[in-house]
């Protein structure tokens, strides 16, 4: 059965309280027993510019955004001009009392699509019920809630909870919500009643972002230190682990730069605790020398690479997945590594724990990819998976860099009870002492790289969703996967091959689909199809068709539907 959506979007200037509006609506929808996915767009500045929060609401699980919305609420007139083309036919635009100054094109669009324009003097309405100016946003929430024809109780509960510690007149906030809800401007023809069946499973679900799930995965895995330099969209991991550090005891250090953050992490991991660092592309560039050092010295290292769009500073607050080549190839010289990619809170939680196990067991750098769409969007999920058992691969042995068939040498934690050893980024002998002898160099280099093959045998195949005999197989990783999975039910002829383990790469299943006659299509949030390039590099197979999106926006469901319909 089709999983229809109803979509509410808030638009306005950065700093007008868009985030609070979005978060309250998302939580209140969940409390009402419906699933929602909340996606945030914002410019890289503190005040001004155009920002938005979009809540896609559905009866069954969704984890992606639409290109369109049914209700657009704008706090600033500029946002109308920005977002009006996304309003669906028969949609509603709510704006404040200002003059609209619509262009002819805008007027035509609105008329053609039967869009209702509602002018609401929210400040006046707030003042009339003895609220204050900043409570005008609560009037909007109440108004939208009425349009959806939902019971006000969950909304009022969430409003109270949101502001309870903020020294604000809660009674006035609620009066403002009700003023919006009972507005005379509500007319039958603009109602957008949510007819989806409410369910306890969504009421009891978790309202959680991808970065929060990565943080929880790190806590669960016994990560005891976070070293980081702020960089969007990784920074909210620093915030969550900082905000909970009293409960967890985790050591938080905001380092002077990403080079330091990576070195601190490597030092702590080598000493025998679990630590990690988080960054985005630019910061990751600076960490590449440390990745290479961890590679040759066989030191566990975990880096979360939260991707955003563009080279250089690019689009700092927008999504993208263009750093896969950097993750797989960053750092000089040859060494084993592992690259994982999360897509939603569930696998973010599990893969973070896996990342620690792999880094320690294989003594390699592990890069955990995410992107802004996963990192900062709010997902509704029923629960997180069970925790992953900790595996550290700590043993005793005679030589730190013993040559073995698996490539994995004994590693033990430096302590007063253990023999000393040298962890060496110079090429070294089995004892750790530096060497430049030809045969020793080759033997040690081969040993190190054997770990890639050992790991490849251990990691699972990519996940497959959808039709067993598909006409079309989409291939992807990260947030694009959520979008594709969300449309599978309504498109029974397609399938989706989802990669969580990017490197080492397992490609057998992919080739099988191709050989069985399915159309194979790569879907990536980048300009150059870097994952397709990696697949070709590893397997020789060139994926014939590709959908590439690199405008900083996530893959909307319409992006895939348009492809299917054309």
């Amino acid at each position: 059965m089709s999983n229809q959506r109803l979509i509410v979007k808030f638009g306005g200037e950065s700093g007008q309280g868009i985030n609070t509006l979005g978060q309250i609506l998302s939580k209140s929808i969940k409390e009402s027993g419906l699933c929602n996915f909340a996606y945030r767009e914002y410019p890289s500045l503190i005040k001004g510019g155009v920002a938005s929060y979009q809540i896609d609401i559905a009866q069954e699980e969704i984890a992606s955004s639409s290109r369109t919305c049914d209700i657009l609420s704008v706090l600033d007139i500029d946002a109308i001009h920005e977002y009006f083309p996304s309003v669906s036919p028969n949609g509603v635009i709510i704006y404040n009392k200002e003059e609209l100054n619509l262009s002819q094109e805008e007027k035509d669009y609105i008329e053609k699509n039967n869009i209702s324009l509602i002018s609401l003097d929210t400040v006046k309405m707030a003042l009339e019920v003895e609220g204050i100016e900043i409570m005008a946003n609560m009037v909007i929430l109440g108004f939208i809630w009425k349009l959806l024809e939902l019971d006000t109780k969950p909304l009022e509960e969430i409003v109270r909870e949101t502001f309870k510690d903020k020294n604000i007149d809660l009674g006035a906030e609620i009066r403002c919500v009700r003023a919006g809800y009972n507005s005379e401007q509500i007319k039958k023809e603009i109602l957008k009643p949510l007819t989806f069946k409410s369910s306890k499973k969504w009421k009891d679900s978790l309202n959680i972002t991808g970065n929060e799930a990565i943080s929880l995965g790190a806590i669960s895995a016994g990560c005891r230190a976070l070293y980081a330099y702020p960089m969007t969209p990784a920074t909210s991991i620093l915030k969550y682990l900082g905000d909970t550090y009293k409960e967890t005891g985790i050591l938080i250090k905001q380092a002077e730069n990403e080079i330091t953050a990576a070195q601190l992490s490597m030092g702590s991991m080598n000493m025998g605790t679990r630590a990690m660092t988080v960054t985005s592309g630019g910061g990751f560039d600076l960490m590449c020398e440390t990745i290479s050092c961890a590679g040759i010295s066989e030191t566990p290292l975990i880096i979360v690479l939260a991707q955003r769009a563009g080279a250089g500073t690019g689009l700092p607050t927008w999504t993208g997945a263009g750093d896969i080549s950097l993750a797989v190839h960053g750092g000089h010289g040859a060494f084993s590594r592992c690259v994982l990619s999360v897509s939603d809170p569930q696998d973010a939680y599990t893969l973070t724990q896996e990342a620690f196990n792999i880094a320690e067991t294989y003594q390699i750098p592990v890069i955990l990819l995410t992107d802004k769409q996963i990192a900062e969007s709010i997902f509704n999920i029923k629960e997180l998976p069970k925790p992953t058992m900790i595996e550290r691969g700590i043993t005793t042995g005679e030589n730190r860099y013993e040559i073995t068939d698996s490539g994995i040498s004994p590693r033990w934690i430096p302590s007063a009870d253990s023999p000393t050893y040298l962890q060496n980024s110079d090429e070294h002998k089995i004892t750790g002492e530096s060497t430049e002898q030809s045969n020793e160099v080759v033997e040690m280099s081969d040993k190190r790289l054997r770990k890639t093959e050992t790991l490849r045998e251990q990691i699972p195949d990519p996940l497959y969703f959808g039709n067993k005999n598909p006409e079309i197989v989409f291939v992807g990783y990260g947030s694009v996967g959520n979008t594709i999975r969300d449309i599978l039910k309504d498109n029974s002829h397609i399938g989706y091959l989802h990669y969580q383990y990017i490197y080492p790469l397992k490609y057998e299943r992919l080739i099988e689909f191709h050989e069985e006659g399915a159309r194979v299509v790569i879907v990536e949030n980048n300009q150059t199809g870097d994952f397709a390039k990696l697949i070709k590099q590893e397997s020789g197979f060139e994926i014939p068709e590709r959908i590439l999106k690199y405008d900083g926006r996530p893959l909307f469901i319409e992006d895939i539907l348009d492809f299917l319909h054309n």
């Binding site: 016994g222 630590a275 010295s297 962890q423 110079d426």
Partner: protein
């Protein structure tokens, strides 16, 4: 009972030049650890790149030879994970003042309980004698036939601008004094910085044993205030050695971490599965 210096020896052939200051510096490190009864596996030493870094496999301690300029953050990460380990970071003047100057300043500012040994031989020696920030202005160096066109930097002035809790200057020509400095630096609770004036007989012939002998003046005790200490750190006429300044009142980074107070364990003792169910309540 002091641990004999031989316990820290390794049977690896030295690769330094005859007369290199690193021999004496290594003797001082081994002697200081031994006299403080810190066993080889209770010490953790990070090594940089360069002639000082080539000492990594010539001393029996827990060690990590990392990257150029990075021995300080590598040491800090090691220290924060297990404060029971005595952590030393060794680095040359090149790595410290060029590739890794930010690390030095922030390590002093944060006051981690580690000891930093800056081997100052006034050049990049392993790459055959390029100028570093401590090479005198105008001196002819590799690739600079008309002399170095910039002013030089003073390690002491940089350290004092960051308000250190411990600063000393040693000399590779006096390993016994350096041993005493190292012992005090290791015992000092905070970030101890030692600038070691190091003989480089191959690429810095001007700063010879005789040259140092004419200039070095040993201090009996540290200066009583930071301002008095700043006044004597210049090396234009005399080179003062010994412990120049200490301030025991500055808390260490770790001691200021509110959420680690009262915990009797180190981060290395705490790796286990943590139950997140209480935290999950906030997402419901």
């Amino acid at each position: 009972m002091p641990i004999p210096i031989t316990q820290y020896n390794k049977e690896v052939k030295p690769t330094w030049c005859m007369g290199c200051g690193n021999y004496a510096i290594h003797i001082a490190i081994k002697k200081a650890l031994g006299e403080l009864e810190i066993t080889p596996n209770q010490a953790f030493v990070t090594f940089d790149i360069g002639c000082s870094g080539n000492g990594a496999d010539k001393i029996n301690v827990n060690a990590f030879k990392g990257l150029h300029g990075r021995s300080i953050p590598l040491a800090i990460g090691s220290h924060l994970a297990n404060r029971k380990m005595t952590v030393l970071a060794t680095i040359g003047d090149g790595g410290c003042l060029h590739e890794g100057l930010d690390h030095l300043i922030h390590a002093i500012r944060s006051n981690y309980n580690i000891t930093i040994l800056i081997h100052n031989n006034q050049n990049f020696a392993l790459t055959t004698g390029q100028a570093t920030a401590t090479t005198p202005e105008g001196k002819k160096m590799y690739g600079l036939p008309d002399g170095r066109p910039e002013r030089e930097m003073s390690i002491g002035e940089i350290v004092f601008s960051s308000k250190p809790s411990f600063f000393a200057r040693g000399y590779s020509g006096d390993p016994l004094q350096l041993t005493e400095i190292l012992k005090e630096a290791i015992l000092h609770k905070g970030c101890s910085v030692i600038e070691i004036m190091q003989i480089c007989p191959t690429y810095n012939k001007e700063s010879s044993l005789e040259w140092f002998a004419q200039r070095i003046e040993k201090l009996d005790k540290p200066l009583s205030t930071i301002n008095k200490a700043k006044e004597i750190i210049s090396m234009h006429e005399k080179i003062k050695t010994g412990i120049i300044y200490t301030d025991k009142s500055i808390p260490t980074f770790y001691d200021r971490l509110e959420n680690r107070k009262g915990l009797g364990t180190e981060l290395v003792d705490e790796v286990k599965q943590y139950d997140i169910s209480k935290l999950l309540e906030d997402f419901k």
